[in-house]
Every structure is written in structure tokens, then in C-alpha cells.
Symmetry: C2
Subunit: 143 residues, 2 copies
């Protein structure tokens, strides 16, 4: 069980390889994703992008996120509540603990849990394609 720190992927190279155009809105959005290590939603990305170039639209943010997701460059999470949240896909696999009071997202990883999941699926005659493990909790009150 341990935390993660992600580092800078070269999204532009990925996009180029995918044969799509490097536009100004995309460059701005990629910049934001690169220098972010939390789990922003589309609206947050939109606002940060607007600060750089106020002509960028929310549609373009959504379209870009979908594109990056299809390229496997980012992950989309549907935590409880409203909007989807995104994060870079470069680091190793991890799951999330969500602070239900603040909305903070804490990353963790457990080889033991991952292995048990495999074991369970296998026993049921399945291969896991992907999974979702989310803990919703609140900071322990110093008793």
C-alpha cells in the first residue's frame, strides 16, 4: 500500500502520433493537464483554460478529454456525485479514497487487493477487464 506521484507525459507527441492537429485550445488544455496532479472535472479544466485563453469553449474541453481518453492518455473517473473527473494515465494503477467532507481524492494501491480481485473473478469464471475500487471516508477524529 503506497502513494503515488505522477510526472510529465508528452501529450503533444501522443497527439501527433495519433495524427490529430495540435491546435491552440488543445495546447492550452494539455498544458493544464500536465501541470496538474489532482483530479479536476471538465468545468475546472475549462475555467483554468479560460484563464489562459478566454475563447476556449467547454465543448472543446469535453472533446479533448474524450480524445485523450481514447488515446489512453488520461483516465476518466465517475466518482459519486456530479461530474466526471480526469487524471493523467501515465503512472501505475491505483485506486482512490474520497474524502466525503472535502472532496479530496487520495490515491492508494494494494497488491493484495488486486490479487484477491483476480482470484475472485477467476473463481466466478471471469477475466477482469477493469475495475473500480473507491473508498468514501472521513478523516479520523483524533480520539
Amino acid at each position: 500500500m503506497n502513494q503515488h506521484a505522477s510526472h510529465k507525459p508528452d501529450y503533444e507527441k501522443e497527439l501527433r502520433r495519433a495524427g490529430v492537429r495540435i491546435t491552440r485550445p488543445r495546447r492550452v488544455i494539455l498544458g493544464i493537464l500536465t501541470e496538474t496532479d489532482d483530479h479536476p472535472d471538465a468545468m475546472e479544466i475549462f475555467q483554468r483554460a479560460s484563464a489562459v485563453d478566454s475563447s476556449i469553449s467547454l465543448s472543446t474541453v469535453y472533446r479533448t478529454m474524450k480524445l485523450l481518453e481514447e488515446l489512453g492518455a488520461i483516465h476518466r473517473h465517475a466518482f459519486e456525485g456530479g461530474r466526471a473527473r480526469f487524471e493523467q494515465a501515465d503512472g501505475d494503477h491505483h485506486d482512490h479514497l474520497i474524502d466525503i467532507d472535502t472532496g479530496d481524492v487520495i490515491e492508494f494501491h494494494s497488491d493484495r487487493i488486486e490479487a484477491l480481485q483476480e482470484e475472485i473473478a477467476r473463481a466466478l469464471g471471469y477475466d477482469i477487464v477493469h475495475h473500480r475500487l473507491e473508498l468514501y471516508g472521513r478523516k479520523r477524529r483524533k480520539s
Copy 2:
């Protein structure tokens, strides 16, 4: 790790205790929930209810599900994709494996995983309020 079978809760008694009225639409919906052991969504419940009483509206289905959820009588799941799915809340806790080809939902439970989750949250300084563990997989091809 094992499967579950749920059995018939007395929703009407629960409603009565909660001080709400036992109306015809509610009775129909409760009947459907009682005799169902899968994880239907609101639309499915609505259709089954319509078959009994075609005047029941989808709004009422949603309102009733929300009511039952607040009473703790049912659980609402937000699996991947479209609509929320519901199930009776009486049985023991379990998690779900979703067949990504058929949409089938298979229930399982692992004390080991549950314990590990607790351990992880504790190490991070949190108390788990609830969690969500969903495995998305596909039937193993008999090699």
C-alpha cells in the same frame, strides 16, 4: 468469497413505520421489488409496474426509489453506463462483478478485501463511510 440470495423484506411495514401513506402505486412497486432478485433500473421497474397498473408514472417510480433509499430499504448502484440500478438492502454486504458483454451482475463478498480496505483507510487516517468495489469482466474463454 460467496454468492448471496436475498429474501422478502416487508416494505409495507417499513413504510408504515416511516409514517408515509401506502398508495396503490407504491404497493405495486414494492411488489415488484419484493419478487425481484436482480438489479433493475428505474425504467425496468417502471415497465414491470406499468404491466400491473398502466397509470403509474416514471416519476413515481423515481420518487418511490428515492424514498426507499432514504429509509435504507434499498441500495442504489451507479454502475458504468446509463441508469442507476437498485436492489433490496436486506441481505449482507456484497460487491459486484459486472459482465461487460451481457450486463449481468454477479454478487460476491470477500472478508479479506473488506479488511484490507479498512486497513488502508486507517493507514491514511480515514474512517470508511462506504465503498464501492466493482469488477468489470468477461466470461473466461474455455482455453
